[in-house]
C-alpha cells in the first residue's frame, strides 16, 4: 500500500469521508480489503480499477447499504441520507407510466418527504434542473420513450435536486455518446465548484486524466491514491491488472482474522 492514505496535514479542509482499515465484502469474501485514507470535503475523486475490484462495493459501503466486515467508515457527521447515489445502470422500471417531470421531482424527497407539497420555488427548481440537463420540452414524456442518454440526463437532473453534500456516481458515463458525456461532465464540474464532494467510478482513463484531479486506483486494496497523474502511472496500472488476474482463493485472511 504505497501511496494509499494521504496523511492529514492539519489543513483547513476537513475530511468528508474517512476509511479506517475498511474491509467490505459479501459472505466473508472481501471485495474491498484494508482500505485506509480520507476524502476531503469538496474533493473530486475518480475511482478506477479492473472489474471486480470492489469499486461498486465501496460505494454501497459509503451509503450504508453494506456493513463493513471489519474497520469503519466515518462520514464526518453526514447523515447517510444526505448522500446522493447513482447506481450502476440504475435499475429503473422504464415501463412504469411516469413522466420525466415527476421522475426529476423525486429528487426533492428529502425536503418534501411522504406528504410535503411541491410549492412554487420547488417548481422553479425542477424546471431549472430539467433545463440544466438539456431536457426542456421533454417534461411530459413518459420515461419509457427516452433514449439511454436522455434517461441518464433525467437521473442527473434528479441528482441536482437532491442537493447532497456527497455525490456518488457509479459508472455514470457508460454507453453514452460524447455530447451527453460532455454535458453531464459540466454538471460534475458545477458540483465541484459548489464545494460538494464527488466520487465517480470510471473506466475511461483519458476522461479521468482530463477532468478528475484525484484518483483512487482500487484492486481490492488501494494500489494508489493521490493526484491523478501519479495514481494512473503505468507501473500502478500494471500492478492493478496483475492483482485483478490473481483473484480467487478461500483461505482466511491473516490480517482480518
Amino acid at each position: 500500500m504505497n501511496s494509499a492514505g494521504p496523511i492529514m496535514t492539519g489543513n483547513s479542509l476537513s475530511p468528508q469521508l474517512r476509511f479506517r482499515d475498511l474491509t467490505l465484502g459479501y459472505e466473508r469474501h472481501p471485495a474491498v480489503h484494508h482500505l485506509d485514507g480520507s476524502v476531503e470535503e469538496g474533493a473530486l475523486l475518480a475511482i478506477c480499477g479492473p472489474n471486480g475490484a470492489g469499486k461498486s462495493t465501496l460505494m454501497r459501503g459509503i451509503i450504508g447499504q453494506l456493513r463493513p466486515l471489519a474497520g469503519a467508515i466515518e462520514r464526518g457527521g453526514l447523515d447517510p441520507r444526505d448522500i446522493a447515489y447513482l447506481p450502476q445502470g440504475a435499475q429503473v422500471d422504464r415501463s412504469f407510466p411516469i413522466s420525466v417531470y415527476d421522475m426529476v421531482a423525486m429528487g426533492l424527497w428529502r425536503r418534501s418527504g411522504l406528504f410535503g407539497g411541491i410549492g412554487r420555488t420547488d417548481r422553479t427548481a425542477i424546471a431549472e434542473a430539467i433545463a440544466a440537463v438539456g431536457l426542456q420540452g421533454f417534461e411530459t414524456r413518459p420515461i419509457g420513450t427516452l433514449s439511454g442518454g436522455q434517461m441518464q440526463r433525467t437521473l442527473f437532473a434528479r441528482l441536482l435536486l437532491q442537493n447532497a453534500r456527497l455525490i456518488l456516481l457509479d459508472e455514470p458515463f457508460t454507453a453514452l455518446d460524447a455530447k451527453t458525456v460532455s454535458d453531464l461532465l459540466d454538471l460534475v464540474r458545477r458540483w465541484h465548484g459548489e464545494k460538494r464532494t464527488v466520487l465517480a467510478v470510471l473506466h475511461d482513463f483519458d476522461l479521468v486524466r482530463t477532468h478528475f484531479p484525484q484518483t483512487l486506483l482500487l484492486a481490492r486494496s488501494a494500489i494508489a491514491w493521490g493526484p491523478t497523474a501519479e495514481a494512473l502511472a503505468p507501473e500502478n496500472l500494471l500492478k492493478a491488472r496483475r492483482m485483478g488476474e490473481a483473484w480467487g482463493g478461500d483461505e482466511p485472511c491473516e490480517v482480518a482474522a
Binding site: 441520507r81 412504469f96 407510466p97 411516469i98 415527476d102 428529502r110 411522504l114 406528504f115 437532491q162
Partner: protein
C-alpha cells in the same frame, strides 16, 4: 323502450337494484386504484391467487356461523393474510419462486374451500360464496364495503409516493427513505381487504375481476399514472352499472354480467386502444418531425 325504461327505471323501481349499484360503486372506488397498482407492480396474478385464497377462510366462517357477515369477513381476511405471508415465506426459505408457491397455495385453498362448503352447505351456498350476491346486499354489508373503500383511499394517499417510487426505482427509494417495505406490506393488506369486500358482492372467483380488468383496460388508453388510476375506477363504475342493467333486462346472473362487461371493454381496448393496442401497433400514425 325509451331511455328511462332502459337505464333509470330499474333503479328507480327496485331498492335491491339501488343497493347493488351503491355497492358496486363503493367497490370500484377501492378496487380501481388497487388494481392499477397491482398491474404496475406486475402482481396481477398475485391478486388472482389471493382472491382464491380467501375462500377457505370464508368457508370456515360459514361453517361456524352460517351466512354471517362478520364471521365470513374475518375468516376471509385471516386466510388471505395467511396465504400472502405463507407464500412469501416459502419463496424465501426454499428454492421455489414466489409465483409457483402462490399457485400452490391458492390451488390448495380453492379445493379446501369448496370441500368445506359442500360438507356443510348446499350448492346454493357454494354458488353464493363463489359468485356473490350483489342483488342481496344488506345494510351491514354496504357499510363494510363502503368502509373498506374509504380506508383504501386514505391509505393509498398516505403510501402513494413510496408505492410509486418502489415500482419505478426501488434502489433510489431505499437510498432516501425507509418507507419501502412498510408501504409494500400496507399495499398487500389493501389487496386482501378489497378482495374480501368484493367477495360479498361478486364472490371469491369474480372479486379480482373488478380489480384487474379495469386496470388492464385503462392501460391501453393512457400512459400516465394519475389518469390511469382514474380511468380504471371509471371503467369499474361503468362495468358495474352496465352489468347490473344487463342482468336486470335479460335475467342473467349479475356478478358474471358485470365482469363480462369489463371483459368486453378489455377486448375492445386490446384491439383499439391507442396506447399499445393491436391496431395502434400494426398501423402507426404518421410520426412527428422530432
Amino acid at each position: 323502450m325509451n331511455f328511462t325504461d332502459l337505464f333509470i327505471a330499474p333503479f328507480a323501481e327496485f331498492e335491491f337494484m339501488r343497493r347493488a349499484l351503491v355497492g358496486i360503486f363503493a367497490l370500484a372506488l377501492g378496487a380501481g386504484p388497487v388494481g392499477a397498482f397491482l398491474m404496475l407492480r406486475r402482481m396481477s396474478l398475485t391478486g388472482d391467487a389471493m382472491a382464491h385464497a380467501i375462500l377457505p377462510g370464508a368457508a370456515i366462517g360459514f361453517l361456524v356461523s352460517g351466512l354471517d357477515l362478520f364471521a365470513m369477513t374475518f375468516g376471509g381476511l385471516a386466510a388471505g393474510l395467511f396465504v400472502a405471508v405463507g407464500a412469501g415465506v416459502v419463496a424465501r426459505a426454499t428454492e421455489l419462486k414466489e409465483d409457483a408457491s402462490l399457485a400452490a397455495f391458492y390451488l390448495i385453498s380453492l379445493a379446501l374451500g369448496v370441500m368445506i362448503l359442500s360438507v356443510k352447505g348446499s350448492n346454493v351456498d357454494l354458488l353464493h360464496v363463489l359468485f356473490g350476491t350483489v342483488l342481496g346486499l344488506d345494510d351491514p354489508t354496504l357499510y363494510l364495503v363502503a368502509g373498506i373503500a374509504t380506508f383504501t383511499l386514505v391509505t393509498l394517499a398516505v403510501i402513494w409516493r413510496p408505492l410509486v417510487l418502489e415500482c419505478v426505482d426501488p434502489a433510489f427509494l431505499s437510498s432516501v427513505s425507509r418507507a419501502g417495505a412498510p408501504s409494500h406490506i400496507a399495499f398487500l393488506a389493501l389487496v386482501v381487504l378489497n378482495l374480501v369486500g368484493g367477495f360479498h358482492a361478486l364472490g371469491t372467483l369474480l372479486a379480482v375481476g373488478l380489480m384487474m380488468l379495469p386496470a388492464a383496460t385503462a392501460r391501453f388508453w393512457v400512459r400516465d399514472l394519475t389518469p390511469l388510476v382514474c380511468l380504471a375506477t371509471a371503467i369499474a363504475f361503468v362495468s358495474g352499472f352496465a352489468g347490473l342493467l344487463i342482468s336486470y333486462h335479460v335475467g342473467a346472473p349479475s356478478g358474471p354480467a358485470i365482469i363480462l362487461v369489463a371483459g368486453g371493454a378489455y377486448v375492445v381496448s386490446v384491439l383499439f386502444g391507442p396506447a399499445g393496442g393491436v391496431i395502434a401497433r400494426r398501423f402507426p400514425q404518421r410520426h412527428f418531425e422530432a
